[in-house]
Symmetry: D2
């Protein structure tokens, strides 16, 4: 199901006075996991940029099911749900053990790395990301 | 339209290598603005807790329209869109001057401050928050 | 004594599971206050860059005296203690009411904005910053 | 020399508009590395708390030698330099490959986990931490 997994530890300074990972930091975790997906697919985020295109985040959604305590071993599971003409939707699930804690979607739009204008998803990118489709 | 406004500066360390506020930090900005709304409605976040109830974030959505550069004067506009039985949906818009940069919704669920179990929105809370309805 | 003051609120997500501002965030607060000092002295951080020089942080020290709780009204007091040939030392004090909470020094080194090489503190910068000397 | 090593990746959102890890985040990195040291020495930070004592950061110093770019593989090297009566000084070095990027000291003070008052470093703690002395 999940096409890409990344594991990390919930760090002390990412937790709030309730002792749990602060809600916005879960969105940052998704970015951390995506950086690792880009690394596997393209070599690295920097390598991806050299191909002449870039991605920007157009939309993000998160549903909070359970809290993630400090020092927990967290798994981020990513799967690309949909390739559009210029955009891509990735489903993500953040879990601790068997417990789904947060899940949502993040939508990226392709842009020209020079002009920052939206472009059709390049064939190179489609091929490189195909293994991560749901 | 907007029932509550909060202004802040985009801080240097909240910006990423593109020189713009990092996407997840926009969710943190919403929390900062809500803290000021709680202050106006309840006296403070701590005072709210003394009433025996608390709120947790159940869901958040953000649509990114334009980037917010370092040092920009940012306005957060909040309006409660919907009071449910145990939850409340707040629409938020982050803008710089006339430009809408990010907008979305955040859903809070009421919980008992001791047991952490969901409860109906208390009458005291409904009254205190009524002025912030859309 | 203090030549520049900046006030801010301790934000929820800047606090750790102990309910107090996380230690590293106090260093970020110093940066926030310095950005306001640059604004007053140079117009803005960006304006400062247009003068052809930049500053980098070479050294920072913090002594923690008391914790800063969530939602506290925090005052940052800055005073430039020493102008060297290429560097400048600023003393900073973070307080809540009459209580000194954290204090320390931060050392900046001037660099050429293009080559990033250290340069003597430009006369324009010395003049603009003179009012903030201890 | 270094008694404890921890490796991590420089994350995108930890970098500032210069494309390098923001200065305050290097202090957060030290905390991340120390959490791993506590894990090795005590089982975990939580286990350490169960022994009836806790540590608070009393002082931190950082000297910045070179910047750490996004996506760099960073090594934190820790060595306890000095055990005092109630405090402990740890030297830390942050490096990328052979390049020392940041280094400094962090001083912890032992406190009673219940009263938060300073206490002599407990024998259990001295023994558990002895392998990490410089």
């Amino acid at each position: 199901m999940a096409a890409f997994l990344h594991r990390l530890r919930a760090r002390y300074h990412e937790c709030d006075p309730q002792g749990i990972v602060f809600n916005a930091n879960h969105i940052a975790y998704v970015d951390v996991a995506l950086t690792e997906l880009w690394r596997e697919a393209f070599g690295s985020y920097d390598e991806m940029g050299k191909l002449g295109f870039d991605m920007v985040v157009a939309d993000v959604h998160a549903a909070f099911r359970a809290s993630v305590p400090f020092d927990a071993e967290v798994t981020l599971a990513l799967a690309i749900e949909r390739f559009g003409r210029t955009s891509m939707t990735t489903h993500w699930v953040t879990s601790v053990g068997d417990q789904t804690c947060v899940e949502g979607e993040i939508i990226h739009v392709w842009i020209d790395a020079t002009t920052a204008k939206p472009i059709e998803i390049p064939d190179d990118a489609r091929k490189a990301l195909a293994p991560y489709a749901a």
